[in-house]
C-alpha cells in the first residue's frame, strides 16, 4: 500500500483521540454496447421482463458464450482513460455462487489476469487541490439479473434482462481518506467513462454503482478491519454511507469492541448501514478458468488503433483550456466537467475573447440551464447565438449591461441577439451629436452640481454619467458619455 501523508483536515475526532478513514472503491460501470458480453441479447434499459434474454443468459445447457468485440474495445478505452496498462492477454474465470438472479450458478469474470492493469486517476477537491488515486485493475464481467421482492407476499420474481450485460469492475487502491475524496473519485471515473463513451454513467439507473471498503485507524497507524458497503447509487449516498459507517466503526472500537469483516448495505431512508449476513457463505467463490472460453488475446495494432481514436480526455482538456485560453483552474474544471459543455465553450470562444466567453458560458448560460433543468446538449440558446451576443459587446453595438438584458430575452424567445437588438432598439448610441444633446440637457438642469464638480468634486461625474445613461435608456456608450461630460464640465 502506497504511503499517503495524513491530512489533518480529514481526521475525525473520537472520544479517545483522532481517527483516520481508509477507503478503497470498487466501481461497477455498465458497458455501453448493443448486445450483452457473451450473447446477442439486447442491453436496452426498461424492457418487458425476460424479453432480452438469450438461452446463454438463461444458463440453459449446451449454450456457449461468445465474446462481444465492442465490450472488449470499451474496456480498453476505459483502461486508457484511467492511464492504465492494457493487458494483451487476459483470462476469464468462473466466480461461483448460488443466487436466483444468476441462472448459470457462476458469474463469468476475470480474476488473476484482468484485461486492464494498474492505472491512476487524478481527483479534484473543493479546496482546489488534486490527489492521485491508484487503480489496481479493471476487469470485464457479467451483470446478474434483477430480483423483485414486492410483487408477491411469499415469492420473489426474477427478471434476467440485465443478466449477462457487460460490466467493467474498476478496483481502486485504498488511497482515499475522506468522504469527499471518495465521491470526487467516483465523479472523476464517471467523467472518464462518459468522455471515452464506454458507459453512460447514470447512477440512478444503476449504470454506475460503487461498493465502498471502509476501515478506520489511528492517524498513520495499523490498518483496521474493513467493511464493504454495497451498491451505493448516488454521490450523496456515498458520502452519507461513508460518514455513517466510519462513525459506527469508531464507536465500536472506542467501546473496546472489534470490527467484523462483513458486507453491509446502506439504507438511504434511515441513513444507516446494516449487515448482510446471508451473503457471507456465498463468499466462497471457488474461482477457476472458464473452460468454455479461451484466453482473450488482443493484437497490439488493434489496441493502438483504439488509442488513436480516443477523444481528448478531461485532464488534458483542462490543461489546454488553462494554457491556451488563460482560464482559471476553477473555470477550466467547470467547463470540462462533460464533453458537451467543453464543446459548447470552444464553439463560443472560437475567434473571441476566451475569458469573456468563459464568463458568459459558466455564469449566464449555466445559470439559465440550471434554472430550467435543461441539458447543455439540448440548450435552446445555441453556441453561435451566444457568440453573436459576445461579438456585439466587443464591437460596441451594445454595452455589457444591455447584453444581460438581451440574454434574458434570448432565454425567453430563443431569438438571435441581432434580432432582439433591432426589434427592441437596443443599439448603443455612439453618435456624439445625440449624446451631446442629452449631456447638455443634464448640465442645464443641474447647475449646482456642475459647480461642485468644477470645485473639485470629480467623483460627482459618475452621477452625471448615470443620469445621461438613464435618459438614453442605457443605450448611450458609457465611454463616449464620460468623454463628452469631461469636455463640457471640466474643459478636458
Amino acid at each position: 500500500m502506497r504511503d499517503i501523508p495524513t491530512n489533518p483536515d480529514n481526521l475525525i475526532a473520537g472520544e479517545t483521540g483522532d481517527w483516520e478513514i481508509v477507503m478503497g472503491l470498487e466501481i461497477h460501470a455498465q458497458v455501453s454496447s448493443n448486445a450483452k458480453l457473451f450473447s446477442g441479447a439486447s442491453t436496452e434499459f426498461g424492457a418487458d421482463p425476460n424479453s432480452q434474454v438469450s438461452f446463454v443468459d438463461a444458463g440453459l445447457p449446451g449454450m456457449l458464450p461468445t465474446i462481444n468485440e465492442r465490450c472488449v474495445e470499451q474496456a480498453v478505452r476505459t483502461g486508457m482513460g484511467l492511464n492504465a496498462e492494457i493487458n494483451l492477454y487476459s483470462v476469464f474465470d468462473r466466480k461461483n455462487y448460488f443466487y436466483p438472479d444468476l441462472p448459470q450458478g457462476y458469474q463469468i469474470s476475470q480474476f488473476k489476469q484482468p484485461i486492464v492493469g494498474r492505472g491512476t486517476v487524478t481527483i479534484e477537491l473543493s479546496d482546489g487541490s488534486t490527489k492521485e488515486i491508484g487503480v489496481e485493475r479493471l476487469h470485464l464481467e457479467q451483470d446478474a439479473g434483477k430480483s423483485l421482492h414486492d410483487q408477491h407476499p411469499s415469492q420473489t420474481y426474477v427478471d434476467l434482462n440485465r443478466c449477462g450485460v457487460a460490466l467493467m469492475e474498476i478496483v481502486s487502491d485504498p488511497d482515499m481518506r475522506s468522504a469527499e475524496e471518495a465521491s470526487a473519485y467516483v465523479e472523476k471515473v464517471q467523467r472518464i467513462v462518459r468522455y471515452v463513451g464506454s458507459c453512460d454513467g447514470v447512477m440512478a439507473e444503476g449504470s454506475l454503482r460503487a461498493d465502498v471498503n471502509v476501515s478506520v485507524r489511528r492517524p498513520g497507524g495499523e490498518l483496521g478491519t474493513r467493511c464493504e458497503i454495497k451498491n451505493v447509487n448516488s454521490m450523496r449516498f456515498i458520502r452519507q454511507a461513508i460518514e455513517h459507517e466510519a462513525r459506527r466503526q469508531i464507536e465500536i472500537l472506542e467501546d473496546g469492541g472489534k470490527i467484523d469483516q462483513e458486507t453491509r448495505l446502506y439504507d438511504p431512508n434511515k441513513g444507516v448501514t446494516r449487515s448482510m449476513r446471508s451473503k457471507e457463505e456465498a463468499h466462497d467463490y471457488r474461482y477457476f478458468p472458464d473452460p468454455d472460453l479461451l484466453p482473450l488475446e488482443m493484437e497490439q495494432e488493434w489496441v493502438d488503433a483504439i488509442r488513436a481514436s480516443l477523444p481528448e480526455l478531461p485532464d488534458a482538456k483542462k490543461a489546454r483550456f488553462m494554457a491556451d485560453f488563460g482560464l482559471s483552474e476553477y473555470d477550466a474544471r467547470t467547463l470540462v466537467s462533460d464533453r458537451d459543455s467543453a464543446d459548447y465553450y470552444e464553439a463560443v470562444a472560437s475567434g473571441r475573447d476566451p475569458k469573456l466567453s468563459a464568463n458568459w458560458v459558466t455564469t449566464d448560460l449555466f445559470g439559465y440551464l440550471n434554472r430550467t433543468g435543461i441539458n447543455i446538449a439540448e440548450s435552446p440558446i445555441k453556441a453561435a447565438q451566444l457568440g453573436q451576443l459576445i461579438d456585439r459587446i466587443i464591437d460596441k453595438t451594445i454595452s455589457g449591461r444591455i447584453a444581460k438584458e438581451v440574454f434574458e430575452v434570448m432565454c425567453e424567445t430563443h431569438q438571435d441577439p441581432d434580432a432582439i437588438i433591432a426589434e427592441k432598439g437596443l443599439k448603443q448610441v455612439t453618435d456624439e451629436g445625440a449624446i451631446t444633446a442629452v449631456v447638455d440637457q443634464v448640465i442645464a438642469e443641474n447647475p449646482d452640481k456642475v459647480a461642485d464638480v468644477q470645485g473639485g468634486k470629480e467623483k460627482l461625474l459618475g452621477w452625471f454619467t448615470g443620469q445621461v445613461m438613464k435618459l438614453s435608456g442605457g443605450k448611450a456608450n458609457p465611454q463616449a458619455v464620460n468623454k463628452i461630460l469631461r469636455e463640457k464640465i471640466l474643459g478636458d
Partner: protein, 95 residues
C-alpha cells in the same frame, strides 16, 4: 491432500447437494480417491510450461456487437418450475 468430513459437508452445501450425515464419511473417501488420481499429475515437471486453460489449437472467437437474440420470454421461462407474467418465480429471497 485429503478431505475431512466438515469439508465434504461444506462442498456439498456449496453445490446445493443434500447429503445425509451418515453418507459424508463414504463420500469423503470417494472424493479423496479422485483427488489422489489427479494428484498423479504432480509427478510431471511443469516448471517450464505456462499455465494454460485449454489445449485447443484455436483462438477465442469474437462476435460483432449486434442484437441477434431475445424476444422469447415464454421460451426462456418454459422450463421454470414457476413463472408469472414472464417472470421466473422463486421462494422469497430477501436480504
Amino acid at each position: 491432500m485429503s478431505l475431512d468430513k466438515d469439508t465434504v459437508r461444506r462442498v456439498a452445501r456449496l453445490a446445493r447437494i443434500e447429503v445425509a450425515e451418515d453418507r459424508l464419511e463414504a463420500l469423503g473417501q470417494e472424493l479423496n480417491q479422485i483427488i489422489g488420481f489427479v494428484e498423479q499429475l504432480d509427478e510431471v515437471d511443469t516448471s517450464s510450461v505456462a499455465p494454460m486453460t485449454s489445449v485447443a489449437k484455436q483462438k477465442l472467437r469474437w462476435r460483432a456487437d449486434e442484437v441477434t437474440s431475445g424476444g422469447q420470454a415464454e421460451k426462456v421461462t418454459a422450463n421454470a418450475p414457476a413463472s408469472d407474467m414472464n417472470f421466473f418465480v422463486v421462494p422469497k429471497v430477501v436480504e
